[in-house]
Symmetry: D2
């Protein structure tokens, strides 16, 4: 039985006008020593792809999938699993990721729900075996239910903290069982709505405690994936605690967790925090905390998370550039992106993933060329050469210097310092364009 | 000789319609155990008040002060010092703060400049003695001159790093000599314009080195003031490294400097980073890093630092609320605010400071009432009571708990957790209003 | 039978600490010649108050009202009407407003739905008679259903245009029957998601056609209320056509409709467009197009419509100031505001309306005092006096002048023009504060 | 005598790694029936290129040009003219544009200044004859001098209004004499800082009067260029009256000037107003008001006008797409862009213009291909086909329909309307990418 009329998506090259073909993503093609598939480790987001049906704050669903017509909740969830794996097979997606509630919405008592969810996970496991598709990461949803109205690990109610712990345990167990490469913490309601009623210190301490005991549990069960924190500055709460990469890194340091967690960076979260994705990538990489990516695209004219499929080539190039400099992405690239409300046909699922995958594939090609030619690296090496080659620079670089010594140096030359060289921003931007066109 | 026609500004109470009188700021009045003056430690910003003359990126000066008509640079600088002290005396401002270049613009060779600057500092010192006015903090300008085009401590040129060190040394010496309560680091060009040409790790390491050797120098000379870092997210560079309170705190932790620096928070810098000032205050206070304040106000519809005189009562109340909770502000409250370009008359200097000081004085009154009545504190204590009074909550608070234990707790009650109580945001906002009106 | 435990909310004055009492809103008190109730014409928003249950894009409902427990859709809708009128009575709200779907969600065929809706309207009418509560305005929801995925009057499908027309007709008939003071057009999906697929000219022409035939129908049925357009710049679509007041006014002029429509301004829509509400109020008033108000408050740090209850006193004062200058608000003041997701108790409905109504009542008091004392008006009259009292100014004001004449004037004095006077922004802001505290 | 070491910039094709060569801009190459030069009509901005020297609100100049070392103001201005024409010749720029003060800063009395300026204009005219370079447009600076602190045509002082008129007259005379294709009005201070002191109606009426008498003067002197208004939402004033395209069009309609003015659109002004440049282009084109372009690029993470050289290929493609649909750009494309503060070498001027010109050239190629293949146009034609081919659609399109008729149509089918088709946003974005890569 087949849920999609579209056939398997194949690579046809850059001149193809077939909408249902890759123009850039050629999975077996080797770039910089690895296949494209190995570099990119693309994952399907279960929630946006099979659960989100076009609803937004101003209106109901616009997407009505044939496989969702089954009345019974459990049966419908199983059919969705089948449809999801068929979709991944046809798209050539080798990974997926999910929250517990993505594959089965909550219902009944906790024991009833967890039993039923286990059945769905059994089916997922058998589909994984059948297809060879792997789990990128798992997570739990601790933000949608009303019990999380005041937060989860940061709730004012300790029972909610405990409930969250129970959800994390269950989801980490599933993730471990399915061999996930990572486990993600996105603090959907970990933040505040107003400081007038909030004890921020207590809430952050509790968040630190949760991350600590989750880390301990990971070790206890021998889960070998990466623990990942996903920064976001706002939405749904007015202020989310995991604001951006630097905030999270500082928080982890404050709780002695900096060696236990890496970052799962999302493009649209970066931009909501006032940063480019490139910035967040550099911060994570240079702190040794680059873990995984949520690939999407935001509308920079809009102030909320639009989670659009990534089609901006600049973001894709600069993201892949940092991935290559990092020696690869430890976990993978998840399309945390949803088809637009008005893209409600089944075909749009394919067209959107093609758009995103081709964009990242082109990004990879361009980034590999830039690195191979050393365009930016040579420029930077030359720019800071004084720190490597002069006595003064070497002292500073080695941190073996005092304010007084430096003052002496400057007084000796009475402040006469040599002219600088240009930063060449415009030139470098035009070189980037040239590499994009010529890849 | 007098530079201003306006007489000393006096407190006349809230019904006074005299523009040149305080309606709220009654310096000797005791609030919550201290005089208003002791609580607020208001400081004049030398740069905005006596150097900024209405120029902006689109036009030249609009303010032409009589005391600036002196042709000779040194003489003009001395007259300005006199005018500045007369202004502070008439305003009842007990503190001031300044950058080296505020009191004398750079010229000539380094030795010529430093010699001349020392003369000006002599004059300042004698004015301080004459009037009893004190130095809140000093700093150096390491961002205006072209040598800082690529940054100061984060420049790609090690000689610029050294030059910056020399400037810091000189300014810290001055500050120490004048008995400043603090020394501020605002990284005017410490950031990047484009990541295409930037080695962020190297630049941040160098910034850490500079802060380390400055801390060492402070100890060496026995300077007893606080070292302060002033966060700002953007402007002048596209991305400033000291983005916001959390970023700076994380950076300090990463360099082992978290006990050596406190924060100098600015309202308009907070809002440019997407935070309320209240947020930044809470972050600083709860991390033990609240040092000093730059009191101003930004236009939230605009994307740059407008440095307006603070007249928003909400910001003032919530800022003073955190100051009171902190047991006072370690350094003080500097009006890092400039009269609008179209407020070009000498009188506007007085009217603007009155506006700002009255706003903060009202803020203090309201905050003290809120705290005395325990309105917010009682609400919060009650909201989180579960963490103090239940066994479950106490275990979490003491961090003596595991994921498995918490899961057991929840499984035992099959996920049945009690209803929450409302966060009451709208009610708390209306109470805040009532306290503002009734103060 | 009673749905709410809270009793009628009464005015207790500014010192009252009873949360369930007005501190500022004293409905019968006369301010500037009219009672507060006459000035403010407060209306309940049916959708936010009785339909929105705390759901957002990241989670389900948090509010579960006893009166909603009825299983049957029609019955539940009727109970809601009863609860709504009890609420309005207890709050002293004399008006309400609603979309068709607020009082009965769509179901079945069009004829079934319209028949059922008519029954609900019968009930509303009888409740109106019973209580004396009046309809401020009615409208239709032409954005939630999937048929509006590409817009309503601006849909690419002419049948959707027709369907929208049918909905408008029905809703205008209801509004007319219930004696509404206005009928609102908010173009929930009248905009575009991407220009790559959009024929903007055609869509705007169609929008103009819809507004034209709606205006014609209004005349045909003798509806005497105001037709109102509600500007909003974004959300749900990437770009909403009715961006802001100036855009709408220009559009109306382009279609010859400027005398047929007025504006329904919303605070949070103003701020999303980068304007203060004061700005939008002045634009509307000075163009003779001030019609009605959606009173709420947005979080200026956030980029979406939060529709918070209005508690910002500055917005309230400046809005009421323009209302008074306009000689009153033609339609009224609707609280297009929803209780926060975490304010999920029934009591929060009361506390939130009290917060909003007291804020506007204080705003009215302050505005009336400012106007009575002529503080701002005298300042402005004096500022522009040259246009009223000099020959040159009078010629310009009468538009009876040429470029050459003006050049001659300036050449004659060789460009020597007299100094300006200060704009006194900081002073005026402090006066505004003083009036707020002293009201 | 030569001011630049760089030789004439030539086209070397897309594989060239010579920084001082065009890779995309091949001026004589014919695209869609015209040469690239004819399509693009690139102009040098005098102010950014020869007057801006890297200063910003936080620091002084970083650029020190050899030709500016001349002490005497008049002489220096003349040397600049020579350098400017050499630069344009070497860059292959066929147009330039300028404000009066760009070529000679104000000094002395009005008559002295205008006499001296006339001399400079003589020199410009002779350079134009020598080189064949043409004037794109002229304008006057009515915002930098302190006399414009409260605005120019919108000043509270009628003498400032008159002074502005005199400046416009003089600048329009110059522009006419030099054969400019247009005359631009950018209202640098036409806006307000605070509504507390502003009579917006009077100010807008006066602005309308100025535009009316300027239009009259244009006719009087027989100037045949286009009159252009340049929208901008903020900066320098808090609110600029010419906010965006729709606001300006509405304003012009309100003053009966819609046939006398066209728009000069700037990318960074569009984005500051919350619009894409594509949006503003469509609005202008579809209203018949597309006049000229200020080509630059803003940093969408920053809230002020950065005026960066345009290197974003998406903006360039979509802008040129609308230009082609418009049948060409009536005036031309001015690089209202400045080299970054840190790009302070003379070479950066060349590298930056190359970057911008190549980006627009590539944009032209891509846009022409898209139009030739009809990719977007066919999609749109098909999307709205119902308005052209069904009876219902034709009635709506012809505006020959009533609400009652449309209701009858829908009642007859009991609201059963056929399903829609997808908007295909993601697919269209990926097609756009493919055209960018393949051009």
């Amino acid at each position: 039985m087949s849920y999609f009329k579209v056939e398997e998506i194949k690579y046809e090259g850059r001149k193809s006008m077939n909408p249902f073909a890759f123009k850039e993503y050629n999975k077996e093609e080797v770039i910089a020593g690895k296949t494209m598939a190995e570099h990119l480790k693309f994952a399907m987001s279960y929630w946006h792809t099979f659960d989100a049906m076009g609803s937004d704050a101003f209106g109901g669903p616009t997407m009505f999938r044939e496989w969702d017509e089954t009345e019974n909740l459990i049966e419908r969830s199983k059919v969705r699993v089948k449809a999801a794996f068929e979709f991944m097979e046809k798209m050539g997606l080798e990974y997926f990721c999910f929250h517990d509630v993505d594959v089965l919405p909550e219902f009944g008592t906790l024991s009833e729900y967890q039993a039923a969810l286990t059945d769905i996970v059994d089916l997922i496991e058998s589909e994984m075996k059948r297809t060879g598709i792997k789990l990128l990461w798992g997570t739990t949803n601790a933000f949608s239910n009303e019990r999380f109205a005041h937060g989860a690990a940061t709730s004012c109610n300790p029972e909610v903290f405990a409930y969250t712990a129970a959800k994390i345990k269950f989801a980490m167990d599933i993730t471990n069982r399915l061999g996930g490469l990572g486990y993600v913490f996105w603090g959907g309601r970990e933040g505040y709505e107003t400081l007038l009623n909030t004890d921020m210190k207590r809430e952050l301490d509790n968040l630190g405690t949760m991350l600590t005991i989750a880390r301990d549990y990971k070790k206890e069960i021998g889960f070998e994936g990466e623990l990942l924190i996903e920064p976001k500055p706002m939405e749904p709460t007015k202020h989310q605690y995991d604001y951006d990469a630097h905030t999270v890194i500082g928080f982890l340091r404050g709780h002695g967790l900096e060696n236990d967690y890496k970052l799962n960076l999302e493009v649209n979260h970066a931009t909501l925090a006032g940063h480019t994705m490139h910035h967040e990538m550099v911060v994570a990489r240079e702190n040794g905390m680059l873990g995984s990516l949520d690939a999407n695209y935001g509308d920079l004219m809009l102030g909320w998370d639009t989670d659009q499929f990534p089609t901006n080539i600049y973001d894709a190039v600069l993201t892949m550039y940092e991935v290559l400099k990092n020696g690869g992405i430890p976990v993978g690239i998840n399309f945390d992106a949803k088809v637009r409300r008005a893209s409600f046909e089944d075909d749009d699922l394919f067209l959107s993933y093609i758009a995103g995958m081709d964009t990242f594939a082109r990004g990879l090609r361009v980034a590999a060329n830039l690195l191979e030619d050393g365009v930016l690296e040579d420029f930077k090496a030359n720019r800071y050469v004084g720190y490597e080659e002069t006595d003064l620079g070497k002292k500073i670089t080695s941190k073996n210097v005092t304010l007084t010594e430096l003052n002496d140096y400057i007084q000796n030359i009475d402040g006469q310092i040599s002219p600088l060289t240009s930063g060449r921003q415009e030139y470098l931007e035009s070189v980037l364009n040239q590499y994009i066109y010529n890849a």
